[in-house]
């Protein structure tokens, strides 16, 4: 009832936000042109448009929509990864980077930029190293003969530290006139470089990943009661946890491929969503996906329009996130004080 209402409301809000974002931009396009264009494109309806169709197609489908979709993907992915990790690790202060995926992916992207001029190579390297970092974290936990939560987190800390220092080495070795600024700019996070091709490639894994996490969200409640209790209730704890770690790693790595480092989303959106619908992960996961998408679409609009030059997205998410987090901390503290 209430949750259904919240989800419907948020979905509508997201559609409206996407439409508004399509209107916003340097080149003036009216809302009636945007709606008319999509009516023509989807239903082949005959409509009068005040702008040339070819130009409109270029602006909307090749420039604005990929970027907005990237914001939706990144926001949803980081938020549900955050919720899943917070439940799995029994700690509301955990963020998606806890197992080292963001550090690994950043290193991979930087390495790619130094080694190759091919954009595809950079993206592939980014994705692969995101996975490698998490595998290293899980490997460390396995080495100490445990799949326990604390060992996984320690493994993540070690792996994250390793890849952060490797990133420093790459930065140090990079050509300071072209490569270093590119790496630094990338790490600030932004959707400037998103193109339609990357969005099309990442759409299937992102949608599938989000859907899988939603369908497994019932397990998150039980996992957050602790391993022993979950196992005593017949839950195959290790298997579920590994599946969820693989999916969230994939989602988080894709966010770095699309947008570089976008901080704080995976930490604050779960808390905002929890304030809206409560802690039940079966509802929280889909709601935080929507809230995260909405948030990032809005923040990206600000980043492209606030000043004549773009502000990197990651800077804004941090600037908004930190004070907000300080405010919600009091409420978030309920339950684990």
């Amino acid at each position: 009832m209430r949750t259904g209402l919240v989800i419907t409301g948020l979905t509508c809000a997201l559609v409206v936000a996407v439409l508004i974002s399509l209107v916003l931009g340097k080149y003036p396009v009216g809302i009636e042109d945007v709606c008319g264009f999509f009516l023509w494109k989807v239903f082949n309806a005959g409509v009068n448009l005040s702008i040339d169709r070819q130009l409109l197609e270029n602006i909307l489908l090749n420039i604005r929509l990929p970027r907005i979709m990237a914001a939706v993907f990144v926001g949803a992915s980081l938020s549900i990864s955050g919720v899943a990790f917070q439940a799995m690790f029994l700690n509301p202060l955990v963020s998606p980077g806890i197992l080292g995926v963001l550090a690994g992916a950043s290193f991979g992207a930087a390495l790619g930029m130094v080694l190759s001029k091919s954009w595809f190579f950079v993206q592939a390297s980014c994705f692969v190293f995101g996975f490698l970092a998490v595998m290293a974290a899980v490997g460390v936990a396995r080495f100490y003969k445990g799949n326990s939560i604390i060992l996984l987190i320690l493994g993540g800390v070690i792996s994250g530290a390793l890849f952060t220092s490797l990133l420093s080495i790459v930065k140090y070795l990079a050509d300071p006139y072209n490569q270093l600024p590119a790496i630094v700019y990338w790490l600030m996070g932004g959707l400037t470089l998103v193109d339609a091709g990357t969005i099309r490639t990442s759409a299937i894994p992102v949608v599938a990943g989000v859907a899988l996490v939603i369908s497994l969200s019932g397990y998150l409640n039980v996992l957050s009661m602790g391993d022993e209790e979950a196992r005593a209730m017949g839950v195959p704890v290790e298997r579920i946890r590994i599946i969820l770690v693989v999916i969230t790693t994939m989602l988080s790595a894709i966010t770095v491929v699309l947008a570089g480092m976008v901080g704080w989303v995976g930490l604050i959106i779960p808390h905002i969503s929890r304030m809206i619908v409560g802690p039940d992960n079966r509802v929280l996961i889909p709601v935080s996906a929507l809230v995260g998408a909405l948030y990032l679409v809005a923040v990206d609009d600000i980043s492209r329009l606030l000043f004549t030059t773009e502000i990197p997205l990651g800077i804004i998410t941090s600037l908004v996130g930190i004070p907000f987090f300080a405010v919600v901390l009091k409420r978030a503290g309920r339950g684990w004080s």
Partner: protein
């Protein structure tokens, strides 16, 4: 045939023996209490019984079947684990916590059905905690939380309840209410295996007491036969008299605290008496 059977179970943690050739049988509807000092192996035995720990040697059998051959999910439909009362990291609603008990009845991708919710409501009614359904689990009292965990075990559909020190952390009143609930459920045929630090809890509600020291069973039998000053001295290295009160319950009276002036018959400064009466 016994409902649960622990046969010659040995377990070592990092080469340190924790359980040494332990054998226990539990019949249907029995309330069995494990007594033993800290680190005696009670918790390990409990985890072995619910299949969380696989014994190094020996077997645990449920109705004749080795539990290591029973899939986790199926086992959870027979045996429920009620952990020590805890807070939990997230303030789930009590109803949602109880619904978790339906997990062993669900397929891999699942949604709770109306039937699951009905079952959860029925068990809440049974324990008279229906009014808690929408409250956050982290904000109810310790006693209510323990009842919620028992409700979850009932929703699981299990007939055997394994409880690790269920009374620890509860206030005095809630401890006694918990014992009352356990007694009522055992009358309906539920089987209880629980550990406790209070020998009186064994004396008051358990049919049987099993005493463990340094990983080995030193006594196993009816509480009335087994729990006495000699075995308690052996177990805790402390002198305690077990006294029957007017033909009803038996209580433990520690020897060492007898003469410190707090007991009956000694003169108290009258101011304390005054305060006591004034408050009333």
């Amino acid at each position: 045939m016994a409902l649960m059977e622990v046969r010659h179970v040995t377990f070592a943690y990092r080469e340190k023996p924790v359980l040494k050739d332990v054998s226990v049988e539990v019949g249907e509807g029995e309330v069995v209490t494990l007594l033993g000092p800290n680190g005696s192996g009670k918790s390990t035995l409990i985890k072995t019984v619910i299949g969380l720990i696989r014994p190094g040697q020996g077997t645990v059998r449920l109705a004749g079947r080795d539990i290591s051959s029973i899939p986790q999910k199926e086992l959870a439909r027979h045996i429920a684990y009620v952990p020590q009362f805890h807070r939990g990291a997230f303030p789930y609603r009590v109803l949602d916590v109880i619904l978790m008990g339906r997990m062993p009845h669900k397929t891999f991708f699942f949604r709770y059905s109306q039937e699951d919710i009905d079952i959860a409501r029925t068990v809440m009614e049974k324990l008279s905690i229906t009014h808690l359904a929408g409250r956050p689990y982290t904000e109810i009292s310790g006693g209510e939380r323990q009842l919620t965990l028992i409700a979850r075990a009932l929703a699981q559909g299990a007939r055997i309840f394994v409880m690790d020190e269920p009374a620890s952390g509860l206030d005095y009143g809630n401890q006694l209410r918990l014992l009352e609930h356990i007694t009522a459920l055992s009358c309906e045929g539920y089987t209880f295996i629980k550990s406790t630090h209070s020998p009186e809890h064994a004396l008051w509600i358990a049919h049987r007491a099993v005493m463990i020291k340094k990983g080995a069973i030193i006594a196993d039998g009816r509480c009335d036969d087994v729990v006495n000053s000699e075995t308690l001295l052996q177990l805790y290295n402390i002198r305690v008299n077990v006294i029957r009160l007017n033909g009803t319950l038996r209580v433990c009276v520690p020897e060492m605290l007898k003469d410190n002036g707090a007991g009956e018959g000694t003169e108290r400064p009258s101011v304390f008496v005054h305060r006591g009466t004034l408050r009333r």
